[in-house]
């Protein structure tokens, strides 16, 4: 029965303390939110924790959902904010030990003897570079590229979710892909 209801109807039921309704919302969106967190954070364990935390935050604040935006937009916003919180924590934690920025850190990691490119499979190395390059993008660009590539949303869906004009979404994605290309080229040159 719950499967036939819209997201907004499920939220309405969940507001009346119906955990099953919220469970249905989670079932519908968990893969996409998990993908979003994975794309934003680049690590499975952190992505799982962030997605879980995002759903818990959503449940706690569900009574404040006013229905002005779509449920998907609301969930995405909570998940992105959670990812940013995790990133901030990571940054402050790493700053306690290292004063170098992320890019310098990645260079050190890639060039370290233990992680020598000669000893690492080419495939795994390339994945790591991509992860690092995406992670180094500004948040608003990373958000768009992850929604497009991990969640496979259309431009229109991204525009509705982020409440941005369609042209802005396309412009951001264009810039994100261009910057990513440059970062990948730079990292590969250094590795080689």
């Amino acid at each position: 029965m719950l499967r036939n209801l819209s997201d907004e109807q499920l939220v309405e039921l969940a507001v009346r303390d119906d955990p099953d309704a919220f469970g249905e919302i989670v079932r519908r969106w968990e893969r996409k939110i998990f993908a979003l967190c994975f794309g934003m954070l680049g690590r499975e364990d952190e992505a799982r924790d962030a997605a879980q935390e995002a759903f818990i935050n959503a449940y706690r604040s569900i009574s404040r959902f006013r229905g002005d935006a779509k449920v998907s937009s609301w969930l995405h916003r909570i998940a992105v904010n959670q990812c940013l919180t995790v990133k901030r924590r990571q940054k402050s934690r790493s700053e306690e030990y290292l004063s170098e920025d992320d890019e310098a850190e990645s260079r050190v990691f890639v060039a370290s003897p233990a992680g020598s490119p000669k000893n690492i499979a080419e495939k795994g190395e390339r994945l790591r570079l991509v992860r690092q390059a995406v992670g180094a993008l500004p948040q608003e660009l990373r958000e768009v590229i992850v929604m497009k590539e991990f969640e496979e949303m259309t431009f229109q869906e991204i525009a509705e979710t982020l409440e941005l004009p369609l042209s802005t979404v396309k412009s951001r994605l264009y810039t994100a892909l261009k910057q990513l290309k440059m970062k990948l080229e730079r990292l590969q040159v250094e590795v080689v």
Partner: protein, 237 residues
């Protein structure tokens, strides 16, 4: 970032590059764009760059995210637990429609109860006792005797009955003659502090004459019946 910020060149097809890369163009537009690519090097370069970046991210996703299992999210018990009764009631009344419905029902029930109790009080027969004379308006005002019957004689002396009353009372009282109440007399206010009992000439309080003393119980209970009036009439006589 400002130095790296890419801009879409305006060649008339630049707005379709991303749609082409992500296969979101309509068939006709796709054919037209492919025709444009054959003679626009900048668009061709853009398509190659954007596709390479997109493929890299897609590859990362396919290799590292796709194999992952479901999130397996479960709401913590502390959050999923049923709320307390008070919280449930508060949550219920947060819904304006429910609150309005309950308020209407309560008001209706209160009004119904008010009228129900009121009708019971009115229909309840007065308990006539000599020790607690209760004034009942309906009994006082309504004639208890049919109009065609001769008017009952209220002014009666029953020596035996009065004697019996006197023997029950510890204080000797004077014989009281009670006359029929004049109907023209206005009803006294119920808040009138005057006592419900007659006052004998010696100052002692005397209960109203027992109801079995007279045929007309209602008239004997009328608060408007005061001994001063009776004595005044006696004096006139």
């Amino acid at each position: 970032m400002a130095g790296e910020k890419a801009t879409i060149r305006d060649c008339g097809f630049s707005g379709q590059i991303l749609d082409f890369v992500y296969d979101e163009l309509a068939d006709s537009a796709k054919v037209a764009f492919e025709g444009h690519l054959s003679h626009c090097s900048s668009c061709t370069e853009d398509v190659a760059d954007l596709s390479a970046s997109s493929m890299a991210v897609r590859h990362w996703r396919a290799e590292e995210f796709e194999p992952l299992g479901a999130l397996g999210f479960e709401l913590p018990r502390s959050l999923a637990a049923r709320p307390s009764l008070a919280a449930s009631i508060l949550a219920f009344f947060r819904q304006p429609l429910y609150a309005a419905t309950v308020a209407t029902l309560l008001i209706g029930a209160a009004i119904g109860l008010y009228f129900l109790l009121g009708s019971r009080t009115q229909s309840q027969p007065a308990i006539a006792t000599t020790n607690s004379p209760v004034r009942v308006e309906s009994q006082v005002r309504k004639p208890t005797v049919p109009a065609d019957e001769p008017e009952p004689r209220v002014q009666r002396d029953s020596d035996e009955q009065l004697a019996a009353t006197e023997t029950k009372s510890p204080t000797p009282i004077r014989r009281i003659r009670v006359q029929r109440v004049r109907s023209a007399r206005p009803a006294r206010n119920s808040s009138d502090p005057k006592p419900d009992h007659a006052v004998a000439s010696n100052g002692n309080a005397v209960n109203v004459v027992p109801e079995d003393l007279f045929g007309e119980v209602a008239e004997t209970r009328d608060r408007s019946l005061r001994l001063t009036d009776l004595f005044a009439e006696d004096d006139e006589d």
